[in-house]
Symmetry: C2
Subunit: 288 residues, 2 copies
């Protein structure tokens, strides 16, 4: 019961996709795409992802046992488990005691960068990203900004308001607030630069974690003018706080999308639940 592999891909067979990536072999890696960075388990994970995407196990099919994978790749079971853990977090496979892992879907997963940076997201779609800075302000942070950026009351921030375009079409208005030490870098960025995030990263600012809140809001005068809709129209809103690897907040942004241009997708499971549904108290205002 070794080689089962249900959807055999090509005559070469699925087993070919499984390479031994031992240290002696050097930077070898499997597949026709980019070499994968350093660690063993990442290489294994990349190879498995590729095999799954190629349909080697079918949708709903079962993966080989951990022990078998360990032998195939010539690594320990622990390393295989690390690789499979990554696939599970991406929602590609299930896992439960007693049974082999099952392929859940073949959806390619976006990188973290594609989430934090509009530009790299657009590029990954083959769209031409664009942006126009509408306003830059330096001013004292309001209380919410202080909390989000973990600043002392009265500290100053830099606010940047931009329209973002996809192949020329305005789809989003972005209001980003930066702490001063980042804001000063941002202020030096040319007005016609496409990606602020990428330029910041070139200057050593690392985005490592982000919290996103997604809901709906009404367009204000700026939004309406920049997106070509009416004030009061509903927009899909994403508010995002990003931090660097040390946990220091580097950006607090509110992005408002024209309806129909974007959707957010999340995978979660019993083991990993990073998504939450948040209640918002009814306005419960006066008598209206």
């Amino acid at each position: 019961m070794t080689s089962d592999v249900r959807g055999r891909v090509g005559s070469s067979g699925a087993s070919v996709r499984h390479r031994v990536v031992s240290a002696e072999e050097g930077p070898l890696q499997g597949g026709s795409t980019e070499p994968v960075k350093g660690t063993l388990y990442r290489k294994v994970a990349a190879d498995l992802r590729e095999a799954i995407a190629a349909g080697a196990y079918g949708s709903g099919g079962r993966l080989p046992a951990e022990a078998e994978l360990a032998e195939r790749y010539g690594v320990s079971r622990g390393t295989i488990r690390q690789a499979l853990g990554a696939l599970r977090a991406d929602g590609l496979v299930t896992s439960r005691r007693g049974t082999r892992r099952v392929v859940l879907g073949t959806t390619p997963v976006q990188s973290f960068a594609e989430l934090v940076s509009f530009t790299s997201w657009a590029r990954s779609l083959g769209e031409e990203p664009g942006g126009r800075v509408e306003r830059v302000e330096r001013r004292p942070a309001d209380p919410r900004e202080c909390e989000k950026l973990r600043l002392d009351p009265g500290a100053e921030v830099v606010l940047v308001l931009r329209v973002r375009t996809l192949s020329g079409r305005a789809v989003m208005v972005e209001r980003s607030v930066y702490p001063l030490w980042i804001g000063e870098l941002v202020a030096r960025i040319p007005a016609d630069a496409v990606s602020h995030t990428e330029l910041l990263q070139e200057q050593g600012v690392v985005f490592a974690d982000a919290d996103h809140t997604i809901d709906l809001t009404a367009a204000d005068a700026d939004d309406a003018r920049l997106l070509g809709c009416e004030p009061g129209d509903a927009l899909l809103r994403e508010r995002r706080r990003s931090t660097d690897p040390g946990g220091t907040p580097v950006e607090w942004s509110e992005d408002r999308y024209l309806p129909g241009t974007v959707a957010f997708t999340v995978h979660n499971s019993l083991a990993t639940s990073a998504l939450a549904r948040r209640h918002r108290r009814p306005p419960r205002a006066e008598g209206a």
Copy 2:
């Protein structure tokens, strides 16, 4: 069932919250709340979560080194790393080589159940969940439903349309589609039952993984009538496909929320990126 953890945390101080949970000590566990299920690393994780929520390390503060935690709890470093991995996935702490972990936030994390079940979510908020079944249909699945539920073309499904209320206020319209084997269970549920999900779980249906897509849509006639808004008004939409531990789809649901009643939050990081932003092609209709 229970759940969580938050609540008061005595004045006993942080060091006390770290308990040795060695095997000899039996089912002991730390904290003033519910005992945590079986495994060691879950107990350790629960204890650390509690300590963080109590502010034992402050927001932005640093956790003890892995080696020290291992000694305190009397477990191996691997087990500590498993526990810390869970906290990292929840967005509670960062981690990077060379430095101790940093506390990112103290936001309590929702369980998976609170995401898949409106009822258990509402209860966790202290709100009174309610629902009224508006329509139940058994009919052939359309192509999209076949794909989502992984059914053969022409297979039948059960559709349930319900209004969901929070303390009496209608906030959401839910359209759930079930494969027949589940739908038959659903059809036997009394019309006034509050939670379909919980009843299904009592009958052995396990929800283990879910994919969520969040965007914006316009209210149709049903929505408008049930939510008390106008047709065409914007609603926050969540579409969700849930699967059981074997990877078999058990539910495909579309939930439409009145604006201002709910927001979705997600945490992701360089290591774990379960959130994605999805493009929707412009209608690119006729000549407009």
